[in-house]
């Protein structure tokens, strides 16, 4: 492997730079001031103004290069201010000043080059306007790189080069994101209206542009959200044994690449465009497949445009054992078309498949369908039945909780087994992460007021992989902060994805507990709030704002007869292995080790059933302990009901709310 770093010499100083990085960055890191007009730190350099030229020596030969877009690939000597360099810059500065004599940035850069007038190059092209466009191209690149549009571009050549929109008309596709005006160094592009009348539009814009810049510059080296969207996690989850396979029995599969992002990028994302979920969004993570021909259902034979898939949709296919990209797109299209949730349908169908394979139900119950894992055609049939309101699909559409009741009552099914494998809590199907080996994630899912929904799935790495919240109290802290944080930006109508699907380059400077919160982006959200309302926020204020709503939601659950500890209890599949094959698939990595090290029992000589019983008791006990700690942190009773004193602290001790929880107080 070639070394990632190269040593070069800049003005006599030896420095180590990352291979392929641009020379100008290394020069700036040495605090050497080089004049530039067309360079912007967050936009792709193209060497237009040529003021950043330097003289480099490669294998004994000297030449001039524009340092902003010169990638360092070999050991070179660099002179940033040689006589030859100064001469070139001086002539260029005179030319710029001759054309735009009153533009402040031009005057400033010319002064750095020792030039105070451009009379030598004064001509008919000279523009005396101090806010003249200097054709630097920042706006064109910001439009394309920040928000992936091409509203602005140059037209004409040579002295006729000018900035324009297509056909010289105002383009209706422009959403007024103001990126162009933000990066314009002269003020040639002005913002004339802030339509929503925020209190501090500039503050919002500054922080929004920071995110735009991150998307343009670092996303490609992080999650690649712009290219493949959230589905990038399919490969990751498979690698970390967290991808749900066969109703959450397993965490990876040999055929995952058939629904992986590489395949979608190569075969399906032909135009690289998003679905326009939010016009002007710099992330645009919802990718689009066009020209997809459907093979089933009412639109059979038609070519359609299909969303995504998002991670959870793809992972749902894995959960059903359907490793087929074509199926996945057809499934996604029809779920969207019928208005049903891809996650709930997948989790429910995976449950049905396991029940079928276990003999709980058979073809007489499914309308003749052989619903084994991987039965892609049958899944689509169920989906169409669900939409038409006929057949077994109608039952599946009722969800796992309903199916369990029916099968126990009408078919005499084993209630305990169905409770163990039916991945639902509070009537909502689990989203698509295997949480068996992460205690915090088990509680994160199960204790969520709205049920085990996908936006509660953040503690899995912190707990299982990073081991950064080892104690019950650590987990309780995380189970306090993260659900409230999620509730908060949901309440504000702010998208979650720009919080931690791209992170600032300097995020690693924080210790793990802080880094996990992505402080730089929490600040962005707070500033959006402040810019709009004028109210300054900090972490405690945010948590209190959110806790008011969170507690109110819990009281509403209580009002409806739910909202106590029994409603926060998961199916055992969420905590550990239900079947022998599950136990044995992870015995070496997790279970035998845990029995030995944490329970203090030697697994040697015990059969799988015995070990499963020991592990189950231990894990259920652990789960209850983490719930105890989380309730305490939230100011709830041991039965999971908000304490009246907590409502007082939050200023929501309204008589009608207190009345609902009064009898639940300890």
């Amino acid at each position: 492997m070639e070394p990632k770093k190269i040593e070069i010499i800049i003005d006599g100083k030896k420095v180590s730079v990352v291979r392929d990085s641009f020379l100008l960055n290394a020069i700036k890191a040495l605090d050497i001031d080089i004049p530039v007009l067309c360079h912007h730190k967050d936009l792709t350099p193209n060497g237009t103004c040529r003021l950043c030229i330097c003289e480099i020596e490669v294998r004994g030969r000297k030449k001039l290069v524009t340092s902003c877009n010169y990638p360092v690939r070999s050991e070179i000597k660099v002179e940033t201010n040689s006589g030859r360099v100064r001469q070139h810059r001086k002539v260029l500065a005179e030319m710029y000043l001759g054309r735009w004599p009153n533009v402040p940035v031009v005057k400033e850069v010319a002064a750095k080059c020792g030039v105070t007038d451009g009379l030598r190059f004064k001509s008919d092209l000279t523009d005396e306007n101090p806010k003249a466009c200097i054709l630097c191209g920042h706006c064109v690149k910001a439009c394309e790189e920040f928000i992936q549009e091409r509203i602005l571009d140059f037209a004409g050549r040579g002295i006729k080069r000018h900035l324009t929109m297509p056909y010289g008309e105002v383009d209706k596709h422009c959403v007024g994101c103001t990126s162009c005006a933000y990066v314009c160094p002269t003020g040639a592009i002005e913002i004339i209206d802030d339509m929503n009348h925020p209190l501090d539009a500039k503050m919002i814009r500054n922080y929004g542009m920071k995110i735009n810049a991150e998307m343009a510059t670092i996303d490609k080296d992080q999650c690649d959200m712009r290219s493949v969207g959230t589905a990038n996690i399919v490969d990751v989850m498979d690698a970390y044994d967290l991808l749900p396979v066969h109703n959450y029995k397993f965490g990876s599969h040999s055929e995952t690449e058939k629904i992986g992002t590489k395949l979608f990028k190569r075969e399906y994302y032909t135009q690289g465009i998003s679905d326009g979920c939010w016009k002007g969004c710099s992330m645009s993570c919802a990718k689009t497949v066009d020209g997809f021909e459907l093979i089933t259902g009412p639109y059979k034979g038609q070519k359609v445009v299909v969303d995504g898939p998002e991670y959870e949709t793809a992972a749902g296919a894995a959960n059903m054992g359907c490793f087929d990209a074509g199926f996945l797109l057809e499934y996604n299209f029809y779920c969207d078309t019928y208005g049903v949730d891809t996650i709930s349908v997948a989790t429910c169908t995976a449950f049905v498949m396991e029940a079928y394979e276990a003999g709980v139900i058979n073809k007489t119950h499914t309308g003749g369908k052989e619903l084994k894992f991987g039965a892609s055609n049958e899944v689509l049939e169920i989906l169409h039945e669900m939409a038409r309101g006929e057949g077994f699909g109608v039952d599946v559409g009722q969800g796992i909780r309903w199916l369990k009741k029916k099968w126990i009552k009408e078919y005499g099914a084993d209630a305990a087994f169905l409770q163990d494998i039916g991945m639902e809590v509070k009537g909502l199907e689990y989203s698509e992460y295997v949480c068996k080996e992460s205690l915090a994630q088990q509680a994160g899912y199960t204790m969520a007021v709205k049920g085990p929904q996908h936006d509660e799935a953040w503690l899995i790495f912190m707990d299982m992989v990073n081991n950064q919240i080892p104690s019950f109290e650590d987990k309780a802290e995380a189970l306090y902060y993260y659900p409230l944080w999620r509730t908060w930006f949901g309440l504000m109508g702010l998208c979650k994805l720009i919080w931690n699907d791209v992170v600032p380059a300097d995020n690693s400077q924080y210790p793990p507990h802080e880094a996990a919160k992505v402080p730089g982006h929490v600040e962005d959200f707070f500033k959006f709030f402040e810019g709009m309302t004028g109210i300054e926020l900090d972490e405690n204020k945010m948590l209190d704002q959110s806790a008011r709503v969170h507690n109110l939601q819990r009281i509403m659950c209580r009002m409806l007869g739910y909202g106590t500890r029994k409603d926060d209890m998961p199916p055992f599949r969420a905590l550990g292995p239900v079947t022998k094959e599950e136990y044995e698939s992870r015995a070496d990595r997790y279970y035998d080790k845990q029995i030995k090290e944490n329970v203090g029992v030697d697994p040697e000589g015990k059969n799988t059933e015995e070990k499963m019983a020991i592990l189950r008791k231990f894990r259920e006990d652990q789960y209850n302990k983490v719930v105890d700690a989380a309730y305490k942190k939230r100011g709830w009773t041991n039965n999971g009901v908000p304490k009246i004193e907590r409502l007082k602290e939050l200023g929501i001790d309204l008589p009608e709310l207190v009345e609902i929880v009064r009898n639940d107080q300890e």
Partner: protein, 66 residues
């Protein structure tokens, strides 16, 4: 022996780099931060940074998605 994330143990070899540790642990995630005995190791140094014996290695995975 090396300790990873205050829990997992792997065998140490002379000349072992951060990249070797990540490969051994099968850590392929894009949003990770690595510290060795408390010192931050930059991504561009993963191939050259030599991990000393008995080092305390933290491989911090930042959650995303959902």
């Amino acid at each position: 022996m090396l300790k990873i994330n205050n829990r997992d143990k792997i065998e140490w070899n002379k000349g072992m780099t951060v990249r070797d540790v990540l490969n051994r642990m099968k850590y392929s995630y894009s949003l990770i931060t690595v510290t060795v005995n408390g010192e931050l190791v930059l991504k561009e140094d993963y191939d050259s940074y030599k991990v000393p014996e008995k080092a305390d290695v933290i491989v911090f995975h930042l959650a995303h998605g959902g």
